[in-house]
Symmetry: C2
Subunit: 267 residues, 2 copies
């Protein structure tokens, strides 16, 4: 099989990375996806860097064996702490979600004050801060960890008083201080409307899933391995566990029902 | 070594089971503990029964190898779905948290209406409902899953407007309907004061960790294997990952700093 007809591998700690799949399919409808969600071992955001690296490498090797032409690390935590390791160990190109979002934020900020929100592990890694500084050292980055956003989204609590109050609790210190806000977690696009309402219309919100899809497009074009849609294939989805409410969750992130879902133990 | 001098094994998906350790040590200060917290793979509450059973058996075998005389399954989810399997596969007695709490609740209820709160997996298992019904089929059990309580506690949000609002969100339907409420999760004792304030003083709140400590005492006495404190030993704590904020979390659940903590991969 020609490389250009190979699928794109995408992984996340759970189903949140399906927001990335959705954007890739929207921009590149001829591409096929092999997705892995580590639903048995999520969340990564509260784990040590060592554990996240170990799990990420296991998954990347699994995708490599599936013959993917490119791996997208849709998990912000993995992108922040495991990307260098994966680039060394894996034979196909590896793209994380951090850099594309930073590039976009740096290009649109006028005040030079960018906010980034994410899990505790992502924020502690300093990956967003470091990446933005390497692009433009004059930009000020204000980070804020928001550990309750993921459980709120997974509870389906995407509207109403409680989510509004939690948004205010976390983002109060950023309000009025920034003109650009990076959503540094694949779950956050689901509550983007609540965040946007609170920070008000002047703040440009950067959704990593949209930016990473653009990066995928550029890389495939540059390498000459964009699919021409010559072979009819289906996307394949693997998870390490079928969690409670699997279907509801998948629908929340993709807007549709998933076909061809398999369960894999990596150990 | 005589069996009575062997330690008691306690495990949980994370550090929440330390609330059980605290109660055992309070009631039985001469006993030694070997604790295992599966911090790399928590939470169990949103995983499938099959996965929870697999993980629980791995941990119970680890504790068995450590020479424990008894295993306490401090995790409500494991107690609900894996207790029968462990009792079959493990050579020492195994005690879960469900039965002791149910026994207490059945003995104190006057109205015959008992509320139970816990994770989604614990509630879906129906373990509390079935156990109470087997003790007294006339008692009405009202279950309510509260998936946000664990992340709130782990975020250290144990007081204030947000936790009060989430408590009201989940418990509104129970208020006035019950006279006894079982806290069916090892994290919940940490926000017991908020729950108690909301459901008002007439509701008797049953803390499983207190009840399971009593059950441990009875079993050791019955079997003649209560420690006489003849050998000086230290408690040992194992986790599958040192999560972010490990020390803060341990302190939250035990009120003190943990000594002798080791990290173990079970795979």
């Amino acid at each position: 099989m020609e490389v250009r007809n190979s699928p794109i591998g995408v992984f996340d700690s759970g189903l949140g990375g399906l927001t990335v799949v959705k954007q890739i399919k929207k921009l590149l409808p001829k591409e096929n996806i092999v997705y892995f969600g580590d639903t048995a071992r999520l969340p990564y955001g509260s784990k040590s860097n060592e554990t996240v690296r170990k799990y990420s490498l296991e998954i990347a090797r699994f995708l490599e064996k599936k013959g993917v032409k490119l791996i997208v690390v849709a998990c912000n935590t993995s992108s922040s702490v495991a990307l260098d390791l994966l680039s060394q160990e894996i034979s196909v190109p590896v793209i994380g979600v951090v850099k594309p979002a930073c590039k976009k934020a740096v290009s649109v900020t006028k005040s030079g004050n960018i906010g980034v929100i994410g899990t505790r592990a992502t924020m502690n890694s300093g990956a967003y801060k470091d990446t933005i500084s390497s692009m433009n050292s004059k930009i000020k980055v204000i980070q804020k960890e928001c550990p309750l956003f993921v459980p709120l989204v997974e509870e389906g609590m995407t509207d109403g008083e409680i989510v509004e109050m939690v948004v205010r609790y976390y983002l109060e210190s950023l309000r009025g201080e920034i003109d650009t806000l990076i959503l540094g977690c694949t779950h956050y696009p689901i509550i983007k409307h609540v965040i946007a309402k609170y920070v008000d219309g002047d703040v440009r919100i950067i959704d990593s899933s949209v930016e990473v899809a653009r990066e995928v497009h550029e890389l495939l074009k540059r390498e000459g391995i964009l699919s021409k849609g010559e072979t009819a294939r289906e996307d394949a989805f693997y998870v390490s566990d079928f969690p409670q409410r699997f279907e509801e969750m998948a629908k929340l992130f993709t807007g549709e029902n998933l076909k061809r879902v398999g369960k894999i133990y990596l150990e």
